[in-house]
């Protein structure tokens, strides 16, 4: 179990800043997900830790710098997106490769390979070549090869991307169980927020070479610190509003259509122009006004029956489209396209965001 620390990592390709003074600590045994859109730098960060990419700043394993150590001396296990299995070597030779490089004696090498074959349920495939096994099996061989050397750290670069949905979900569970069993510190790169949410202890959301927010999945989802994170994690309905502080724990908000409501707030949000984010599943169709809830009004544009839930598109008074997710409680609720509807919500569920535009981000519409 090892702790990994990154301090002020900077990577520059010609004039593009791929990583912008990035700092991060990964706790021993933690499963951390690096999440973000393509080009955000998550794969570059992985390659910095692995030692494939020159960088400025410091990478420390258990407090000791590894900056001088080239990739082949950092003792890291990596699983690449395309698995990178050696096509000319058998499964057994692939798994044993790292041990062979460390000049492990033959008996110890053989028994460790057997151990890995059993752990990743690859018995019977030892003499096959990568071209002769399925995608899921290749993925497991790649994993086995990475952990066979008992690395300080496991790096996974979108390893499940090539698998179909069902297999991917199974592998997610297996992967997490495996990681818990051997207790290895793991960093997992993905662009799929559902995958990150289901696998990771903590998620670091990246954009433009920097970490925008880091925390447990629930934290990121319930309390996103920026518009980018709010939009990236799950669905959001965004409204611009002006806010005035009424007293110590209440914020008075006015939205463009003229409606106002009070939000509980503990003095954190500034006043003036703010953004409000509403999660689709926290909006209720046709709720009656009461002191506990606030309301938005609009007309129904479209309803989609998706089996597990019903997704309704509502056009608010000022033209903004809101997506509402209603759980399927049996039977279609009365949803008539074109009918006026009120959306009820609990003010405590509203997320307040103040956003400075990030480089590359357009103005809010």
């Amino acid at each position: 179990m090892h702790r990994i620390e990154l301090r002020d990592i900077e990577v520059r390709y010609r004039d593009v800043l791929a990583l912008d003074r990035l700092s991060l600590t990964v706790e021993p045994g933690e499963f951390l997900a690096l999440l973000g859109p393509s080009g955000c730098g998550k794969t570059t960060l992985l390659r910095v830790i692995a030692g494939f990419v020159p960088y400025r700043g410091s990478v420390l394993f258990d407090g000791r710098s590894v900056d001088d150590r080239p990739a082949h001396r950092r003792n890291i296990g990596i699983v690449f997106q395309d698995y990178a299995l050696f096509p000319h070597k058998t499964v057994r030779e692939n798994i044993g490769f790292g041990l062979k490089m460390r000049k492990t004696p033959r008996a110890a090498l053989a028994s460790r390979v057997e151990e890995m074959l059993a752990l990743l349920q690859l018995d019977g495939l030892a003499e096959r070549y990568p071209g002769q096994i399925s995608g899921g099996q290749q993925q497991r061989v790649a994993l086995a090869r990475a952990i066979a050397i008992n690395p300080s750290l496991l790096l996974l670069d979108e390893p499940l991307g090539a698998l179909d949905k069902k297999l991917r979900e199974e592998m997610q569970v297996e992967l997490r169980q495996l990681q818990r069993r051997i207790g290895i510190t793991t960093i997992f790169v993905t662009h799929d927020q559902e995958e990150a949410l289901s696998l990771a202890d903590r998620i670091a959301i990246m954009q433009h070479g920097a970490i925008r927010q880091i925390g447990a999945g629930a934290d990121l989802y319930e309390r996103p610190s920026s518009l980018f994170v709010a939009r990236f994690m799950g669905q959001s309905n965004i409204l611009a509003a002006t806010a005035e502080r009424l007293d110590a724990d209440r914020l008075h908000c006015r939205i463009p259509s003229g409606e106002t409501f009070l939000l509980p707030d503990h003095g954190k949000a500034p006043t003036g122009d703010i953004l409000l984010s509403f999660r689709p599943e926290r909006l209720r169709l046709g709720a009656e006004p009461s002191s506990e809830t606030a309301r938005l009004t609009g007309t129904i544009e479209h309803a989609a029956y998706l089996g597990g839930q019903i997704l309704v598109r509502v056009r608010l008074g000022d033209g903004t489209i809101f997506k509402v997710a209603a759980a399927n409680q049996g039977g279609m609720p009365e949803i008539a396209v074109g009918a006026p509807v009120a959306l009820g919500f609990d003010p405590a569920d509203v997320i307040v965001l103040t956003d400075e535009p990030q480089p590359g981000e357009g103005r809010l519409r």
Binding site: A50, G51, F52, P70, A71, H72, R73, R74, N75, I76, G77, I78, F80, D82, A84, F86, P87, H88, K89, T90, F97, G98, M101, R102, Y129, P130, G131, Q132, R145, A146, I149
Partner: protein, 283 residues
């Protein structure tokens, strides 16, 4: 099976050309079994006398051994030189790679006669190699470099290098960079990465290059002609001489058939030899 009609029509002209080619080879084979009746005369009937004459005379066989020997060691040298250049092309910058590619392509598309003649000029008594050696003080009198086996070998090597570089480069460049990265992350030093990953996966290209170069060197005509001056004749020179100068067609045809057979055997041996070494790399 209704695809058969259009296929035949599309392939017909090419098949016609192929047929002409095969017919010519068949005629050649036929000639090799005809009796020799002196210059430009040929009888009818079937005989193995040309083949017998070829194999019985150690003078003839010497051409064969010399060709095989020279082809073998020159191909080995070309392999080393070509591999170095091909490997360099995969690790150098794009501008250098472009320059090298252009140089190689110019070689590739220039007639062998011209390229070999250039080497003749370089190795002559007053050529640059001699001048250089004298200037360096290695020798005091111009050495006889031309018309020696060394000259022929040098010519074969220099002319063949581009043919080795392209296929080898193709196979090394086709190795995914993630494979090298994976090997490195598992503890392989750069030397180990080369030995365990690059070298084995470059074998298909090496095989292709070796076959091309070996066949070319084995049956070379121009190089032994210009650089050997008659002193280092190889099998192709024998065939040409007997056909065009002596007009002993049956013998020349027999010698030609022998070289064809030799060529096919060597291709088969090289390809199956490489196939066994390549094993799982192509799957």
């Amino acid at each position: 099976m209704e695809k058969l009609g259009p296929f035949v029509r599309a392939a017909a002209p090419a098949c016609a050309v192929l047929l002409i080619f095969v017919a010519c080879l068949a005629t050649l084979a036929g000639y090799s079994f005809r009796p020799r009746l002196g210059m430009a005369q040929m009888g009818s009937g079937f005989t193995l006398e040309s083949y017998a004459a070829f194999f019985r005379d150690p003078f003839n066989l010497a051409y064969l051994w010399r060709s095989l020997w020279i082809a073998t060691y020159t191909t080995a040298v070309v392999l080393v030189l070509g591999y170095v250049v091909a490997y360099h092309m995969t690790v150098c910058g794009p501008r250098m790679r472009l320059i090298i590619t252009i140089i190689l392509l110019v070689q590739f598309f220039t007639s062998y006669v011209i390229r070999t003649y250039a080497i003749v000029l370089a190795l002559g008594r007053y050529g640059i190699v001699n001048n250089g050696l004298i200037a360096l003080g290695v020798i005091s009198v111009p050495a006889k470099l031309l018309f020696t086996e060394f000259a022929v070998a040098a010519g074969l090597v220099l002319v063949a290098v581009p043919f080795m570089v392209f296929p080898v480069y193709g196979s090394i460049a086709g190795i995914s960079p993630n494979l090298r990265a994976a090997a490195g992350s598992l503890g392989a030093t750069p030397a180990a990465v080369f030995r365990e990953i690059v070298l084995p996966l470059s074998l298909p290209g090496v095989a292709a290059g070796v076959v091309i170069v070996y066949l070319f060197n084995l049956t070379a005509f121009i190089t032994p002609s210009l650089l050997g001056g008659g002193h280092v004749d190889m099998i192709a020179n024998l065939i040409f001489d007997r056909a065009m100068n002596t007009q002993d067609y049956p013998f020349a045809s027999a010698a030609a058939m022998v070289s064809l057979l030799l060529t096919l055997i060597i291709v088969y041996l090289l390809q199956s030899g490489f196939r066994r070494t390549i094993r799982g790399a192509e799957r």
